[in-house]
Point group: C2
Chain length 214, copies 2
DNA sequence: ATTCTCTTTATTGGATCCAATTTAAGATAT
DNA sequence: ATATCTTAAATTGGATCCAATAAAGAGAAT
């Protein structure tokens, strides 16, 4: 009998994925120390895959490591939040511009279906589904490096989202903007789509900032 | 007595830095397998810091890892080269736009001094000095996430640079464009500076593409 | 000769062990 | 009572050991 589902294959990746999710979800708060032994026990593995997972998450910017002093959950602040959304606007508008000429109806249908889920799913699923909606459209641009970059920015943004999500009536407007974006995509109207996306991301940033304590 | 200078502190970082440099320099060719034991012996450390270093470089995109089959130097191709330079234009023009209002004369002087070195230094130093020149200007924008992103893109681009650098009379034009960029910065002319930077990066991409075998 | 299978070998992934460093606590002096 | 020095506990970094997997090679059957 296995312990926590970490076993079976690629423990490093497994531990990294679970830790990342717990950091994004806010279960592990910013600044909280991440003791190797504790994590190892919790997942039923040795300290080694934990060490590699922490190293990986450090490279992704979710944890900070200090030599001989261990790892902790990376800090968050308003400045970083603003920067993430600036970078999202830049990268995602560019991706969308190049995706639109390559968009198939079937891909737009898939995005619309995800948007359908998004509108009925519980609020905890918002971050992941929202990311899938956006990525589904962008993937048509066929730029792996750019897509990986955007994916990371979404994960980074989701840390703030989970903090703010409760007092947020943001979801309603977000849904409307997603529908507008899909319509522009169906028309293959790159200029309009880009403009909708830009304000969509900027407004998301502002809403999160307003909900951020401090 | 120590072996290869890897000891002393933070072996993982040390090994990662040296491997990264050897990949960028082209000493380690694309696709070449990276055997843990071999690298460990070469640097006089055990396999463990090597494993963590490889994991780090994987996250940075310089090596590819397949479960139970080991690591190899990441592939390069024309498509990736083009993507890197697209992303550079996007990120660096944005960084420069926000840096220019914050530029001090002393910072511009520092960039000019680096450009001076660049024009006399041996060709092997071009990549590193070129990066320092650009980063010195951008740092004024005070956006750590963006700067880290740009830094990584420069390293990725340098892999192609080292391949092409020999048959390249690119350096002369690059120097002229750097001088023009500095002049625009001194005038605090954001629009002109951005335009110079955009063509500067685009032309670099084209020159590298032309020199790429295949 | 070729292909398939079995065995051997090389190599990675994970666990445990040891050393070095940092943090915390406790004793002592002022 | 406070500050400082000494010592002990906790924790990380690195090395070695063992197990699991995949590549390579030898041998047999067609």
């Amino acid at each position: 009998m296995q312990t926590a589902g970490a076993k079976g294959r690629d423990q490093t990746r497994s531990v990294a994925d679970q830790l990342r999710e717990r950091i994004i979800s806010g279960e592990l708060a910013a600044g909280q120390p991440l003791r190797q032994e504790t994590i190892a026990e919790a997942y039923g593995v040795s300290r080694m895959p934990v060490r590699e997972a922490l190293r990986l998450l450090q490279a992704e910017g979710f944890v900070e490591m200090v030599r001989n002093r261990g790892a902790s959950v990376a800090a968050i602040d308003a400045r970083d939040l603003a920067e993430i959304h600036e970078m999202r606007v830049l990268a995602e508008c560019f991706a969308l511009r190049h995706a639109i000429p390559e968009l198939t109806e079937s891909r737009i249908d898939r995005a619309e279906s995800i948007q359908g889920e998004l509108e009925t799913a519980p609020i905890e699923a918002f971050g992941a589904l929202n990311k899938r909606f956006h990525m589904t459209l962008y993937e048509a641009c066929a730029r792996p490096r750019l897509l990986a970059h955007i994916s990371l920015l979404h994960d980074a943004a989701d840390r703030y989202l989970r903090i703010a999500i409760r007092q947020l009536d943001y979801a309603v407007r977000s849904d409307r903007e997603h529908r507008e974006l899909l319509a522009a995509c169906r028309r293959r109207d790159a200029a309009a789509a880009q403009e909708i996306l830009r304000t969509h991301i900027e407004e998301a940033g502002k809403a999160l900032l307003a909900a951020l304590p401090g």
